[in-house]
Amino acid sequence: MIGYVAVHYLVNRKRQAAISVVGVMLGVAFFIAISGMLQGMHQFFIKRLVDSYPHVMISDEFREPEAQPVVVRYPDAVTVIRGLKPKEETQGVRNYRQIVEGLKEMPGLTYSPITSGQAFLRYGGRDVSTTIYGVDPRLERNASKLARDMKQGRIENLLTTSNGIILGRALADKIGLDMGSRLNVISPVGVIMQMKVVGIFDSGVTQVDSGTSYANIKKVQVLQNKVDKINQINIRLDDVDSAPQVATSLERKFRYKAESWQEAFQNIFELFVVQNGIMYTTVSVILLVAGFGIYNIISSSVMEKYRDIAILKSMGFSESDVVGIFFFQGVVIGIIGVLAGWACGAVLVEILASVKLSLNKDVPVRMDGFPMFRSVWLYVAGGVMGLLSAAFAAWIPARRAARLHPVDIIRGASG
């Protein structure tokens, strides 16, 4: 009954209704496309970062510096220490073998002890700085995706070739090195080592590919003058989401700073929050405009139908019937708009997915196109938002219509 009257009214205002439908459709479609694109980008970034960096990294640092003996001795006193000199000692993770033994016992993870440091690559009169990681290839194979990223050579070449080095593709290109090239590697402590390029990798993360190199851990320890010392342990987890809990537990157990990937990339996640904020604001504005369109059409319909409302009420239609008639119109506009928005959104997603990007090679993470996130939940969320905005926009004038007093209208019409 309510639908019967409402549809008659709506059909009579096809043009205005169509404009409102387009408003809802655009809001829903943009929501699906933009959220699909942003969430796709976020997931792509996270996947690349999670793949390229350790899930948990134990480093040779402490979050809380060790308390000075005088502070320990007089815990309640106000202590001022002047002229404190740090110990002149080579940093590194002490008793790392004990930590490694502890890690062996833990299920769901693989690890790789690393000695890292800065070095210069000298080739053909050019010097390029690099962070050189000394790894045990047998452990590193399982603890990172380096083995998968190898474009030339194999990670095991570090075992078979004396003084072998593996370079990131961008780093190799920068200095003009290729497989088999020999170069000098110079450490900050003055050790010079001639090394041979035995592999080239490409992780897709520009920062990694343009500044990272790998060598056998023993060689790097010599190069950095850190014999039998390591300064980090990279850990890879089966369940990447459990990294914060694992990091906390390791830090509590071994005292060394254990940083999860979530903590390491916190600033990027904060950027994602800002991006999401911008996206949801934009989409909300579109839906708000669509809502105003619906409010406008229902509101003007109510004004046009004052006499109808009066006669319907005098016939015995209740207030809720009148609300229903006008509310129904908004909901119908909302439903048609949402359905059209779903279709339009799906098309937009595919169009965006097919766009080929040719970005500057210096972008943080390389990608060939928009990595689109496709999920039925985006459609559900877009649909709910579209319907809610339509329903709310229709509810206000519908309530106003229901509260009209028929006598006032009839007297006005007669006067």
Binding site: M1, Y4, V5, H8, Y9, V11, N12, R307, D308, A310, I311, L312, K313, S314, M315, G316, F317, S318, E319, D321, P406, V407, I410, R411, A413, S414
Partner: protein
């Protein structure tokens, strides 16, 4: 003839911002089934206000209104709404037909709201009513395609849709020419006398009043005659 509407000491005071205005003052009246009654009076005498009170479109400030044994003055809005739907039919000076609907659909609207008949039966009843009011061949016409007299007859058919006990008409011939006025009065008279529906019509027209069974006259909100 049974009592259809009984008003006992009904008063309606409009609380305006400046001074209260008494629209109906201590009105008592009984309308019987099959009675054709005219309510007359000058403009502002309270005759339309009395009609709206009888039709449950307005609530009295004091007094009792009894329709078919129910005191509707103090009843809930739901009871008043259902009483309007089932027992009362309205005809106004303006036809107030829904422009988007055909004559047939307009007449079927109250039946649809009541929901007691199948679509087929509703259609048959609406057609019968329209034909009985001389609107054969016009059932599928929209209000914009009909003359003033035809629209008012559709409005009467709509008022009769749910077989009400009483038709309340507010200046039903106010916008009609003499020929259509005579036709509408004739319809009301036949309705009252042949079907037993009570008809209460508010009118300015002295000729209209001569054709009814009874007249009441209002002045300053009071029933002064009848």
């Amino acid at each position: 003839m049974s009592n259809v509407i009984t008003l006992n000491n009904v008063t309606r005071i409009l609380q305006s911002e400046e001074i209260p205005v008494t629209l109906v003052n201590d009105a008592s009246l009984t309308v019987k089934s099959g009675e054709f009654l005219a309510v007359r009076g000058t403009s502002g005498s309270g005759k339309s206000s009395l009609l709206y009170l009888m039709g449950l479109l307005d609530k009295p400030t004091s007094g009792h209104i009894n329709i078919a044994g129910i005191d509707v003055a103090t009843a809930t809005e739901k009871v008043r709404q259902e009483t309007r739907l089932e027992k009362i039919g309205f005809v106004f000076q303006f036809h107030f037909l829904l422009q988007e609907f055909s004559a047939l659909d307009n007449v079927m609207l109250p039946m649809r709201r009541l929901g007691r008949l199948s679509d087929k039966d509703m259609r048959a009843r609406a057609e019968k009513l329209l034909v009985s009011l001389g609107l054969e061949g016009k059932t599928n016409k929209k209000p914009g395609q009909m003359s003033g007299g035809e629209r008012q007859r559709v409005a009467i058919a709509r008022a009769l849709a749910n077989e009400p006990m009483v038709i309340l008409a507010d200046e039903p011939t106010g916008n009609l020419d003499s020929k259509n006025t005579a036709a509408v009065i004739d319809i009301f008279k036949k309705l009252a006398h042949e079907t037993g529906v009570a008809v209460v019509a508010v009118t300015h027209d002295p000729d209209f009043a001569t054709k009814t069974d009874r007249n009441i006259v209002m002045k300053d909100g009071k029933i002064v005659e009848g």
